[in-house]
């Protein structure tokens, strides 16, 4: 904050206040009196001016601090909450074991019309001007069911978001309507992550070299969510003029894919994807006028963070139930501070994660700067989500270590929050 007129005045006053002379001349009291009167009127003015809004009596959502959800968001969250608990949670164990999302679930998710939230009304969808908070709420609600299933079901919405945000109007008209169609779009995947240790998504190793009317893609993508099943890939690659996104047919010559099983996200059909001189027509480079690769990455990490908030909340709810039922030494273990304080800490950090994600999203959807907020949200969520994962297993003890309970799965899945770049997009 810069020093303004009032500040300079205060600097002078401070010197006056430190001085002895007002006391010597018995001036301190009158001085204070003067100041009191002066400040009262000036602050009254400031208050009147500050409180005046251009549209009187209408409290706009952009002028007051406000954590409440809109009616539509509230309804959506309630609906998805029950989908998460009734459908996702019961399916999660087997999906993890079989490393696949049940086909039936994919159909149910399409029927929910999630991808519609990524398609503008002009192309048959429901995406309005501000979508990021709603998208984050969708991810959070689904994440309460199961992180991997939620992530997998969010891939079509993410692809639609990505195209809507970063493709040209012509490309949008060509690619987006499918997402809002009856049968849904072909399966997509967003390939950003690279396998090198200390890989930086801002400095991609995968390259796209311009050759006449084509780009030639070379490189390797790692842990691509739903990468095995995708028939379309949105690929991040380094061009001579900076990082860019390409809409690539997964069946193109030069692309090879293989399963890349990991610690968690098992049902996500993670894939290693290799590009060897893959020819991509130049018009398939996403060409939105305001393409911003850093913002793209931020919207991706926010999606993972929002999922983490939901799954962490699920873990907290689960351990609360467990610790109240589990009896040791004659009473529920939740009667012990060593247990209860861990539970309290989880609640504190989860609410912190949630507010950090919401704020970054709310800034982004109003078109304000949000890279810092998204970055810090990621820093916090990466650390705290893992704390939730590991503490949840700890609180269940040996039982938490087995597959009888979902916490060991969440432990494996939540480790991904610090690692994934791309894959999803709010």
């Amino acid at each position: 904050m810069r020093t303004d007129v009032q500040g300079h005045a205060l600097a002078v006053l401070s010197k006056v206040a430190q001085a002895d002379w007002p006391d010597r001349f018995k001036l301190r009291h009158p001085f204070e009196k003067l100041l009191y009167t002066g400040s009262r009127s000036s602050f009254r003015y400031a208050a009147a001016r500050g409180g005046k809004s251009k549209v009187p009596r209408v409290v706009s959502s952009d002028s007051l601090f406000d954590l409440s959800l809109s009616d539509e968001q509230q309804m959506l969250v309630e609906m998805l909450d029950s989908f998460a608990s009734e459908v996702l949670r019961p399916a999660a164990h087997d999906a993890d074991a079989q490393a696949a999302v049940p086909a039936e679930l994919l159909i149910q998710a399409r029927e929910l019309g999630l991808a519609f939230y990524g398609v503008p009304e002009a192309h048959g969808g429901m995406a309005g001007e501000r979508t990021l908070v709603t998208n984050a709420l969708i991810a959070e609600a689904l994440g309460k069911g199961d992180l991997t299933l939620a992530a997998s079901l969010l891939v079509p919405l993410s692809a639609a978001n990505c195209i809507r945000r970063w493709a040209s109007p012509e490309q949008q008209a060509q690619w987006l309507p499918a997402f809002a169609s009856e049968q849904g779009a072909e399966p997509y995947a967003l390939a950003v992550n690279e396998p090198a240790v200390l890989a930086d998504p801002q400095r991609l190793q995968t390259t796209a070299r311009k050759r006449g009317g084509h780009y030639l893609l070379n490189g390797e993508k790692s842990l691509v969510l739903q990468g095995l099943n995708a028939s379309r890939l949105l690929v991040a690659a380094q061009c001579s003029d900076g990082p860019a996104l390409f809409w690539v047919d997964a069946a193109s010559k030069g692309i090879s894919r293989q399963a890349e099983p990991a610690m968690g996200l098992k049902a996500g059909a993670l894939a290693r994807v290799r590009f060897k001189s893959v020819k991509v027509p130049a018009e398939q480079r996403l060409a939105g006028a305001d393409f911003d690769y850093s913002a793209f990455l931020a919207c991706s990490s926010l999606a993972w963070c929002a999922l983490a908030v939901g799954t962490s909340q699920a873990a907290l709810d689960y351990v609360i139930g467990y610790c109240n039922e589990r009896v040791a030494f004659g009473e529920p273990i939740s009667h012990r501070q060593g247990v209860a304080f861990m539970v309290a800490d989880l609640a504190i950090e989860i609410d912190a994660m949630r507010l950090m994600v919401w704020r970054a999203c709310a800034r982004a959807e109003r078109g304000e700067s949000f890279l810092r907020e998204a970055y810090l949200a990621r820093v916090l969520c990466a650390e705290k989500a893992m704390k939730v994962g590991t503490d949840a297993v700890q609180l269940l003890g040996g039982h938490g270590f087995t597959k009888e309970h979902p916490v060991e799965r969440w432990y494996r899945d939540l480790r991904a929050i610090a690692i994934q770049a791309g894959g999803l997009h709010l």
Partner: protein, 403 residues
């Protein structure tokens, strides 16, 4: 959803920041050194703040937090009121100096209690009196229900006997709000608060503490020996209501805990801002793009601290926002206090470490902030008390089940 400073409070936030930068900072080290010397500069500032308070419905200071009940807002929808504005002001002022804020005349807890529970007659008598708050005793800290100071009715007076410690501004204030029990056998419900004016026979300041930090703010020990206080100075209802009783007293904390969290956030911000400056001069770059793994350790540490700070700040704004909107916020107030208290302590200590010798030396204020911050994780309920409150709520436990 909007999680920024509301437009209507931006001017106030800026004013508070200017006070902090131009008024507090220049005398910050002076009163850290001169413990027990009264910062006379504060009289001038207090006059200014009183002006602000009367001039604006949303002004700075602890007393604004308790104005919420009196606010005559009738408009529908979301409100941003006294709790939020007081919090924003406190955050900025404590960026300047938390000790000086605590030493501010008429801005303390005693005045918050009076503003919250006094009747009209008492407000008339004590509304403008600088009042300190005396709760803690040598034998009871966090467990305020175990208060031993007694108040025995004798005609039109109560006779107070007992010893109070950790009374902020206990000597400088013109009066002290004293918590005492009418009947030890009846527990919490029998605890009442009394306004005792300095000069009342039987009330003596016995000691001023020498402390780790917030030295600008004096901390007194006060003894009461057959101290006769007019019965009309009992704040609130003189009846012992076993149903409610203590809850009424504790309600004050739901409003003041976010303010103490705000103090922690202010101090931590000061340390973060200065450390970022010093690190930038030493070649660190903060662009919020590079992965945490690829930046220097100092940069990564500062990012982490900044994330924790933002988290604490948002949690605290949430608690105040809930209070403004009359949503029950007991758990959230404790969450804010717990997070902000521990995070501010971690941040200020780490900032000393990050700045190395410069951070540890007295040429910088970093070491002072690291000392000042510790109390913020202790008073108005320690970290552990907050965790207890949060855990009981989450787990649905009573205080006898989860002790």
């Amino acid at each position: 959803m909007y999680l920024e400073t509301p437009k209507k409070f931006r001017a106030l936030e800026n004013q508070a920041h200017q006070v902090a930068a131009q008024f507090f900072r220049p005398i910050s080290r002076k009163y850290d050194k001169a413990e027990h010397a009264y910062p006379k500069e504060l009289d001038l500032l207090a006059a200014l703040l009183d002006g602000m308070n009367e001039g604006s419905p949303n002004a700075v200071g602890a007393t604004s937090a308790s104005k919420r009940g009196a606010a005559r807002e009738v408009e529908e929808g979301i409100k941003n009121g006294g709790n939020l504005s007081a919090l924003l002001g406190v955050m900025e002022l404590c960026w300047g100096d938390v000790g000086l804020l605590l030493a501010m005349p008429r801005q303390g807890l005693g005045n918050a209690a009076i503003a919250a529970v006094a009747n009209d007659e008492q407000l008339g008598r004590f509304g403008k009196t600088w009042a300190a708050m005396a709760i803690t005793e040598p034998g009871c800290g966090s467990d305020s229900a175990a208060i031993r100071t007694t108040a025995v009715k004798d005609g039109d007076h109560y006779i107070l006997n007992g010893e109070k410690i950790f009374v902020t501004s206990g000597e400088r204030a013109k009066a002290v709000v004293v918590w005492a029990t009418l009947d030890k056998g009846l527990g919490r419900a029998a605890i009442k608060s009394f306004v005792v004016e300095h000069g009342t026979p039987g009330m003596t300041v016995t000691r001023l503490e020498k402390k780790l930090g917030i030295k600008a703010s004096d901390t007194a020990a006060i003894s009461f020996v057959d101290c006769r206080v007019p019965a009309a100075n009992l704040l609130g209802n003189p009846e012992i209501d076993v149903q409610k009783g203590f809850a009424g007293v504790m309600e004050t904390f739901d409003n003041t805990r976010p303010l103490v969290a705000g103090m922690a956030i202010g101090v931590a911000k000061a340390a973060l801002d200065r450390t970022r400056e010093l690190l930038s001069r030493a070649g660190c770059r903060f662009d919020y793009r590079k992965p945490l793994l690829s930046v220097s350790h100092a940069e990564a540490t500062l990012y982490r601290l900044e994330a924790e700070w933002e988290a604490a700040r948002l949690l605290t704004l949430k608690a105040a926002w809930m209070a403004d909107n009359k949503l029950p916020n007991s758990k959230e107030a404790s969450i804010a206090k717990a997070k902000a208290g521990r995070v501010a302590n971690e941040i200020t200590l780490k900032c000393v470490e990050l700045a190395g010798a410069a951070g540890y030396g007295e040429d910088e204020l970093l070491e002072k902030w690291a000392r000042d911050s510790k109390i913020l994780d202790i008073f108005e309920g320690t970290q552990q008390i907050q965790l207890l409150i949060i855990a009981r709520r989450l787990l649905g436990k009573t205080s006898s089940e989860l002790k």
